[in-house]
């Protein structure tokens, strides 16, 4: 492996009920890059995310974060290796306030029982609480601090989920269809926001997305999956011109996948999770 | 002596078994732990006593007690399962617990909290075989429960309603898609549960000749244990579980004293829950509710 890669998947296999969902998959994500994971319906993109975040364990193969082999590490501790993620269908805690959801995002940085018993959300001025509020304010969500998230519009919930994931100060952020359900203006805003986040070079993005304009504008590298296998890898433009990729999408028009059917696949995948 | 204790254990066990069958049917089909069942058991026993006390002849009193209990069970259905479908999983459980309290305290309000004595059902009817005493009520109870469970198995295996019930048990949404009239079929579950439990209460009243408003609690709790020992959702498993609990109880009383019974029975229950939550016989998988 090269020392510039932050994530490396090595010959990963995953089988669900006799179906090879992920078949001998290997790829690397470069440190500080914005990489897209794309592919048609049922290609196994969300499964890859679930394998990286530890929801499932692979049947064989290894996953490395930086130098560390995290293949056998439990899901709950992977965030401490710098991996945070969002979910395809937003999974905020409906009975926590926006601020509490964001504070929850800091959980992996907490050390020990004393930290856990610090009343972070009682008095104003607490370091953690102020950090969470600043995070919300940066994302333009300051007005929603005390709202219960279940009552907020979908687009706002997506943005809160992103803030929550960032609170873990991850090295690698997995975004599962961050632009799904957003309108054109919101999508562009998101893309600019993500771009800014990566400017310091400390954060690496791995993005599952089917909006190719979004991918083209945001990402500098892409990995294409089809039926659990990697069929192409390169810059978004190069990948789009690849004959194998075009064949996979053949008959489905140039813009790869219909958003609706893709969404359905993801829902089912997350239900399985 | 041991033979006699086995007979007594089986008698008691058949009461527990019928309560366990009612519970297991509700869990197996509806995924609903119906805590009102101990209350229905009490209603069966106390209504029988009340009707006999009012001078109504035996056969009518039995039928009347069954009808009252089934009506109560349908009321439970109306306010737990039917109204609350889609609510958080604990809500029907909570409502059914409230029904237990409701039934018990209505009974106290009407009949007082004293122990009542049920008149003897069959005079001079004991069989003596090789030194063992078998009461006719005991025998009747056993035959009744075997017949009822056989009937229930047939209902589940071979009738339209049974097929519908099994479909609901698998997946209520699919059942709806297939055009199953869920409300009608689910009321069958509650009718059967009411019938089994009340009959258990009646048999208990006839065998032990005592009823009181809290009589359902101890029996209901042991019915729950029997259900789990046999494997939740497994009807024949519940019968075996009931017999195990019944004989364990009788033996524990004679060797260690009455105070030791609960320790033995609930210790057994806890051990099974921890070591083998699916029960001795394969019931359903330990499912997570709500998620």
């Amino acid at each position: 492996m090269t020392d510039t890669s932050i994530l490396r998947l090595d010959c990963i296999h995953k089988n669900f009920g006799g179906v090879n969902v992920i078949d001998d998959l290997s790829f690397e994500v470069q440190r500080g890059s914005r990489t897209a994971l794309i592919g048609p319906n049922g290609a196994g993109k969300t499964t890859v995310f679930n394998l990286i975040s530890g929801v499932f364990f692979p049947d064989s193969g290894s996953i490395f974060v930086g130098e560390n082999d995290i293949t056998g590490i439990k899901s709950g501790t992977r965030i401490r290796h710098g991996i945070a993620r969002t979910f395809q269908n937003v999974r905020l805690m409906p009975h926590l306030s926006t601020l509490e959801n964001v504070i929850l995002g800091q959980h992996s940085r907490n050390r020990g029982w004393l930290g856990a018993l610090q009343p972070v959300n009682l008095l104003p001025g607490n370091r953690w609480c102020e950090e969470a509020r600043a995070g919300l304010a940066d994302a333009g969500l300051g007005d929603y601090e005390r709202a219960s998230v279940g009552s907020l519009p979908y687009g706002v919930q997506r943005r809160i989920e992103l803030v929550r994931a960032l609170m873990a100060q991850p090295k690698l952020l997995l975004l599962d269809e961050p632009a799904a359900g957003l309108n054109a203006a919101e999508t562009e805003e998101l893309q600019i926001h993500l771009f800014k986040l990566c400017q310091s070079g400390d954060l690496t993005l791995l993005v599952v997305e089917h909006d190719m304009h979004f991918v083209g504008a945001l990402c500098e590298a892409a990995v294409v999956l089809s039926f659990g296998r990697k069929i192409a890898e390169g810059t978004p433009d190069a990948v789009r011109d690849n004959p194998d990729v075009q064949e996979v999408y053949l008959g489905k028009s140039a813009s790869p996948v219909s958003a609706a059917s893709e969404k359905k696949e993801g829902d089912r995948a997350s239900q399985r999770a | 002596m041991i033979g006699q204790q086995i007979i007594n254990g089986v008698t008691l066990g058949s009461v527990y078994a019928m309560v366990a069958v009612a519970l297991t049917l509700s869990i197996g089909v509806l995924n609903f732990l119906n805590f009102s069942i101990p209350g229905l058991f009490m209603i069966g026993g106390m209504a029988l006593w009340a009707l006999l006390d009012a001078g109504i002849p035996w056969p009518l009193a039995v039928v009347g007690a069954l009808v009252i209990a089934v009506a109560a069970s349908l009321m439970v259905e109306r306010f737990t399962w039917r109204w609350l479908r889609g609510a958080p999983h604990f809500v029907p459980l909570v409502s059914s617990m409230a029904f237990l309290l409701l039934f018990e305290h209505i009974a106290i309000a009407y009949w007082g909290s004293d122990m009542r004595v049920v008149p003897e059902a069959f005079s001079g009817g004991d069989w003596r075989i090789a030194g063992l005493v078998i009461g006719i009520p005991q025998l009747m109870g056993l035959l009744c429960s075997i017949a009822l469970v056989a009937g229930l198995s047939w209902l589940l295996a071979s009738t339209r309603t049974g097929r519908a019930l099994r479909t609901i048990a698998e997946d209520p949404d699919t059942a709806l898609l297939l055009g199953v009239d869920i409300n009608r079929v689910v009321s069958v579950v509650f009718i059967v549960a009411g019938l089994f439990t009340a009959l258990a209460g009646i048999l208990f009243a006839i065998n032990y000749r005592q009823v009181h408003p809290f009589m359902g609690e101890a029996v209901g709790l042991k019915g729950i244990s029997a259900m789990i020992i046999g494997g939740m959702g497994n009807i024949w498993g519940s019968i075996v579980g009931g017999l195990i609990i019944g004989t364990t109880e009788v033996f524990a009383i004679s060797y260690f004293g009455a105070d030791f019974v609960d320790l033995a029975v609930f210790g057994l229950l806890l051990a099974i829950l921890i070591l083998r939550p699916t029960g001795l016989f394969r019931g359903m998988q330990p499912v997570r509710f709500g998620i």
Partner: protein
């Protein structure tokens, strides 16, 4: 203050303490149906200490609560391996076993009950209840409290956030048992007599009902639930059983009309948060679903 009023207040305070004992595990999505058993450990433990070693009740009650927590710690590892309905039944079995064990322990009086000579009055009872309320409220503003509620909402995501799900659930279960133990200790020392039969499944059910009726979404729910459903029956002049009938019927109607409990986040937001009025056109979350 009239004796009657004082009696109601004591009952209310003890019920509130019990309710928080059941609420702590429920906030993490665990139904503890053995809460009366832990209350019994606290009651008998503290009573034995104050009786045999002449320890002052104010000290004996917390020590008794620690006994309850210790018992919870012993059973937590095997019992919390079970889930959902199995967990409810396992905790129920634990409660029954505790009660049955007390019946068999001669030095605790067995079936005859246990007279307690030391006495605590209304101020002490209220003081303990207030302390429990404050501690739980503060606890729910900590990372621990936030994580607990997150576990109830979505265990999988909480785990991915790095929440130690099992550890936190165990802590909530043990802490809840200890709080119930405080309630038991208060009961024993105020009423000067305890018997195993009092700590039956009916008590566990009533306590759980207070919490679910109040609502599990906020830490105020148990307080509201226990208060309403302790005082409401008192308003009725009539026999004890009539009060229970009203209580039970109230539970059934409330669950049918408002399964999320009396008090939800959305209610609180609507009542108190004038700075963030509900967004027009967006319906408030109904709070259905756990």
């Amino acid at each position: 203050m009239s004796g009657y009023f004082e009696g109601v207040l004591v009952l209310l305070a003890i019920n509130v303490v019990f309710a928080y004992g059941a609420y702590l595990p429920l906030a993490a999505g665990q139904l503890n149906l053995g809460i009366a058993g832990f209350a019994a450990v606290g009651a008998y433990g503290s009573a034995y200490l104050s009786d045999t070693f002449a320890i002052h009740p104010i000290l004996a009650i917390p020590i008794g609560a620690m006994f309850a927590g210790l018992i919870a710690l012993l059973v937590a590892v095997p019992v919390l391996r079970t889930r959902g309905i199995y967990l409810a039944l396992a905790t129920f079995a634990v409660g029954q076993i505790v009660r049955a064990a007390i019946l068999n322990l001669e030095f605790l009086g067995g079936a005859a009950g246990y007279p307690v000579s030391a006495f605590v009055g209304l101020p002490v009872v209220l003081g303990f209840a207030l302390a429990v309320i404050v501690v739980v409220m503060v606890l729910f503003a900590t990372r621990f409290g936030i994580a607990l509620r997150a576990v109830q909402d979505d265990e999988r995501v909480a785990d991915l956030m790095g929440v130690e799900v099992r550890g936190f659930q165990m802590a909530a279960f043990i802490l809840g048992a200890a709080v119930a133990g405080i309630g038991g200790g208060l009961y024993a020392h105020h009423f000067s007599y305890i018997e195993a039969q009092y700590f039956n499944i009916g008590l566990s059910i009533s306590i759980v009902l207070y919490v679910l009726l109040g609502g599990t979404q906020t830490a105020w729910g148990p307080l509201i639930g226990a208060t309403v459903f302790t005082l409401l029956p008192e308003l009725l002049r009539g026999s004890a059983s009539l009060r229970y009938v009203v209580f039970a019927a109230g539970v059934i109607v409330l669950m049918a009309l408002r399964p999320q409990g009396l008090l939800t986040r959305a209610t609180i937001q609507r009542l108190f948060d004038w700075r963030n009025p509900p967004i027009p056109g967006v319906p408030m979350a109904s709070g259905r679903g756990q």
